[in-house]
């Protein structure tokens, strides 16, 4: 079933999607489809999220009060939810980003060829 192209895409680490969503919403409120597109676009389509998996993550973030959802209209002029970063989410994003930088840095140092 899977094509070669799909196999080269990277599976997202657990929890990473949450971080990406928060980062995306830092730019302003967006609805589900736009968030998915933004993540795809910014990662040059390397991180191709199965779009559906976005929704459990969005709901987890709402429940943790890191983002909030509000009613709005979509580009198609239909009822759709807009997601917005909360103050708590903004703090969480800072925290998670620092954690991520540390982790990425550590892994990069380990993997770097000895000088």
């Amino acid at each position: 079933m899977s094509t070669k192209e799909e196999r080269e895409r990277i599976e997202l680490l657990q929890g990473t999607l949450d971080l990406l969503i928060l980062r995306t919403l830092l730019l302003g409120p967006a609805h589900g489809h736009a968030i998915a597109k933004a993540i795809e676009f910014k990662s040059d389509a390397v991180l191709q999220v199965e779009q559906g998996s976005l929704y459990p993550a969005l709901h987890r973030l709402i429940k943790r009060a890191w983002i909030s959802a509000e009613e709005g209209t979509s580009e198609n002029n239909r009822r759709a939810k807009y997601y917005r970063l909360t103050a708590k989410g903004r703090r969480q994003l800072e925290l998670e980003t620092r954690k991520w930088d540390k982790l990425a840095g550590a892994i990069a140092r380990i993997l770097a060829p000895a000088e």
């Binding site: 489809h33 559906g52 429940k63 009060a65 759709a80 939810k81």
Partner: protein, 863 residues
């Protein structure tokens, strides 16, 4: 649930919209419409799985919050171990008392009887113009059994057990046998472990040939021998064949050691006049109790026409077996249950006021949590989680208390409480405790939590957590104290009434003197005592031998010992006042006595003479009656010399001359009024011996045993009892109620005292600054004490008034369990008011003393 549904619908809409947008994008990229839609779907992934995952997220996050709340709650409780311990202990007392009592109520009232189809089991009472709980005659029983169609099985047992000597082992033992008919075990759904139940063929005899053993007799006497069926045992020198062994004991219904079939071909079993069978029936499926009753009424009417001499006016009244067995204790248990429920409410009020005080101390924390965005519902949840934790801890501790309490209750073991051996802390009880704990946690937690979370943010921050002084804030505390006092007044008055009633019951005039009175049973079962003279000489010699022992006073014998549960009555007419209709018989208790029964019991002779030996030796036709008898049947007339024609088992009534009058005595129960009774001279095969002792009656047991053995070494004696114990056993049910309600009253008082003390201590802390200010401005220490004590006593008085009014309304339901005390007994009400007033004063005085010691300088610097 509806909230979940709405969220699901929104999720659906979101997903639809998402796929729609993606399809649009694909179309813009130039895909064909079909392909565009298909690609969008594939891009999105499995819709069903996404929905499932989302739903799971909701649950997981809900649990995460719960665990967070619990962790935080536990941390808060650990930070305040004193507060937690007091709250848990308070709740444990309330919940534990409820659990223990509910174990009893569950086993006695709620759990179905330990019989198959217990809901279809009905009891039959004999009903006549003068009686409604009589037994049924054997001839009537067989007619009802043969003619009715409402029952799947209809059987009966004899109202009283018979005693037998069972041979075997080194010494014969005395056991109780119960006569039952075929159909008795079938109706109850009891299948023997070995062998079979009785069949109609077992009844076709003049002398029962077969027996069924109880489980305990089979275990204790026959070593659980599995091959006992078909073997013979020797009962009273006669050989009987064991045809069955029961799998369990029937302790609810009978304490018999073995059963034998009713020998319906025996002359004594043809009677319609002697009523001694107790029928029990299993209603056919679909037949209601009133349908069966209608059928029995028809049969009764037919029997009345056929045998007008014996059956006119007689019928059967059906009652569900469950209500027969436990109906008498229902009202007492419900009173106790209500009282223990009030105790739990008091515990809740206590816990609530503790929480109120704590939440005030935590105001700063709550305000900060609100300020950083905790919603009200989130805050409520946190506070409720904490109170539920307290309640569950209290419930767990309460279960330990309940285990101890149940053992204690079973130890009290009143005979009047059926099914006591079935009482345990069962799964159903534990489930109810869990529910009670949850309910309790919400009950005492919700109020304080609502109050705390309602706090206005701005005001809260401005106060900065300082102790506020506004009066309205203390109104909740005051209301709780008032409620607590009111509730405990009701419990205390109820327990006071019951204790008062028990005290009177213990001092009721018995009509005889139970102190220093020893009693035992003697049964002359061997056939040589079928001879009257031999029996008489046995008892007369026994009397002489016992009386000659040192320390022994009068010795007498009686067929039915007072307050032991034994009873007999018979029909009679007064020869000098013959009834208009020859079938209009009177009915009164009758006892056979021998020796110096009245002397030993100290029942006073108020006219005529007592019996002498010649009366019984020559079977003289004499009778002694008691004062209640005279009052009822010979008003305004001297009965001495008159004659009673008494039914003594034969068709011809026996005329006896009244030779003496004695005082009345309690016979069935301490509660009842004195009953008319007749005494005839003689001895039965089985008699109760009563021995008056000069000193400790226990010292006479050896003398009595030796005297019996010296006359006839083969006769077994049963255990000795002190008459005082017989009396107190007969009041065991009342003692049980009084002790229990007394204990509940004690707990209520303790909790209330703790509650008043806690609230006033808290208020003193809150008012420290104000008190310091007052003192700095010259207030005397005494006036400070008056201020604090006055506050406590005012609240207590208000609670007292409300409680007294509530008690007047509520205690009316207690009248059925009270003896000689009105539900509105002013003495009890006054005593409770004084006790509670004193306790309230003391509980307010201790915090007031602390207030008095407030140093104005320190207080003003406070905070």
């Amino acid at each position: 649930m509806w909230r979940r549904k709405r969220m699901m619908e929104e999720l659906d809409a979101d997903i639809r919209e998402h796929i729609e947008t993606e399809t649009q994008d694909n179309l813009e990229r130039g895909m064909a419409p079909e392909e565009a839609r298909y690609a969008a779907m594939r891009r999105f992934g499995n819709v069903t799985r996404v929905k499932e995952d989302t739903r799971e997220v909701w649950t997981v996050v809900w649990f995460e919050h719960l665990i967070e709340d619990i962790r935080f709650g536990l941390r808060m409780l650990r930070k305040n171990p004193g507060f937690a311990a007091v709250a848990v202990l308070t709740l444990a007392l309330g919940i534990g008392a409820n659990t223990a009592l509910f174990s009893v109520v569950n086993a006695v009232l709620l759990r179905p009887l330990p019989f198959e189809n217990s809901l279809r089991l009905v009891w039959s009472w004999g009903n006549c113009s003068l009686c409604d709980q009589a037994a049924v005659s054997p001839a009537d029983f067989t007619d009802y059994r043969a003619q009715s169609h409402s029952f799947e099985h209809y059987g009966a047992m004899a109202g009283e057990n018979s005693l037998f000597n069972l041979a075997g082992g080194d010494k014969p033992i005395q056991i109780e046998g119960s006569m039952v008919t075929a159909g008795f075990f079938d109706a109850l759904g009891i299948h023997p472990r070995y062998g079979r139940a009785f069949e109609l063929s077992d009844e076709k005899t003049t002398d029962p040939q077969v027996v069924i053993l109880s489980h305990h007799l089979w275990q204790d006497r026959f070593g659980s021998d599995p091959n006992l069926i078909g073997k013979s045992i020797t009962l009273d020198d006669k050989t009987r064949t064991v045809v069955g062994v029961l799998a369990n004991d029937l302790s609810v219904l009978s304490r018999a050691d073995l059963w034998f079939p009713a020998p319906f071909q025996n002359q004594g079993m043809q009677s319609r006049r002697s009523h001694f069978l107790r029928p029990v029936g299993l209603l056919r499926r679909g037949v209601t109790i009133s349908q069966a009753q209608a059928e029995l009424d028809t049969i009764a009417a037919r029997l009345g026409r056929e045998y007008p001499d014996t059956n006119a006016g007689w019928s059967l009244r059906l009652e569900p077996l469950q209500s027969v067995l436990v109906g008498s204790v229902r009202s007492a248990l419900l009173v106790l249950l209500a009282a223990v429920g009030l105790v739990l409410l008091i515990a809740c009020a206590n816990a609530a006021s503790l929480l109120l005080s704590r939440n005030t101390a935590r105001r700063r924390e709550i305000v900060i949590r609100t300020a950083i965005g905790a919603g009200r519902s989130r805050l409520l949840r946190q506070l409720l989680t904490e109170s539920l934790l307290l309640a569950l801890a209290g419930g767990a501790a309460g279960i330990f208390l309940a285990y101890a309490g149940v053992e204690f209750l079973k130890g009290l073991g009143p005979r009047s409480l059926p099914r006591l051996d079935e009482v345990n802390v069962s799964g159903a009880v534990l489930a109810s405790t869990f529910v009670t704990a949850i309910f309790t946690g919400i009950l005492f937690g919700l109020g304080p939590a609502l109050k705390a979370s309602r706090r206005d943010l701005v005001q809260g921050l401005r106060e900065g957590g300082a102790a506020g002084d506004s009066r309205s804030k203390h109104r909740a505390h005051g209301a709780l104290v008032v409620a607590e006092v009111a509730l405990s007044v009701v419990v205390l008055i109820a327990s006071g009434l019951l204790l008062n009633s028990f005290w009177r019951l213990m001092r009721v005039h018995l009509g005889f003197d139970p102190a220093n009175l020893l009693t035992t049973e003697v049964s002359l079962i061997s056939p040589r005592y079928d001879d009257d003279r031999r029996r008489e000489s046995f008892f007369h010699e026994l009397q002489d031998r016992i009386q000659s022992a040192s320390g022994a006073g009068s010795v007498g014998f009686v067929s039915e010992l007072p307050l032991s549960g034994e009873a007999d009555d018979t029909f009679f007419t007064i020869a000098e006042h013959p009834p208009a209709n020859p079938n209009d018989n009177n009915d009164a208790d009758v006892r056979i006595i021998d020796g110096d029964y009245f002397g030993a019991m100290r029942i006073p002779l108020s006219g005529g003479r007592a019996f002498e030996r010649q009366d019984s030796l020559e079977s003289r036709k004499v009778v002694i009656v008691n004062e209640p008898f005279v009052k009822k049947f010979f008003p305004n007339e001297n009965p001495i010399g008159k004659h009673l024609k008494m039914f003594e088992g034969k068709p011809e009534f026996v005329a006896r001359e009244i030779v003496g009058i004695v005082g009345g005595n309690k016979h069935f129960a301490l509660r009842e009024s004195l009953r008319p009774a007749m005494f005839t001279p003689g001895s039965f095969m089985r008699m109760n011996v009563v021995v008056r002792s000069a000193g400790d009656p226990a010292l006479l047991t050896t003398a009595v045993r030796q005297a019996i053995r010296a006359i006839d070494p083969d006769e077994a004696t049963s255990a000795f009892r002190m008459m005082g114990d017989v009396v107190s056993t007969s009041a065991a049910g009342d003692r049980f109620n009084a002790l229990l309600l007394g204990a509940f009253g004690g707990i209520a008082l303790l909790l209330t005292a703790a509650g008043i003390f806690g609230v006033l201590s808290y208020l003193v802390t809150q008012r420290t600054r104000e008190i310091g200010l007052r003192m700095a401005l010259g207030a005397q220490r005494l006036s400070v004490v008056r201020l604090i004590v006055g506050q406590g006593v005012r609240l207590a008085l208000l609670g007292l008034c409300i409680g007294v009014v509530a008690a007047v309304v509520v205690t009316r339901w207690m009248s059925s369990v009270l003896f000689d005390v009105k539900p509105t007994d002013p003495l009890t009400f006054a005593a409770v008011a004084v006790v509670l007033g004193t306790v309230a004063f003391l509980a307010s005085y201790l915090p007031a003393r602390r207030a008095m010691r407030v140093d104005p300088m320190v207080a003003l610097r406070y905070e």
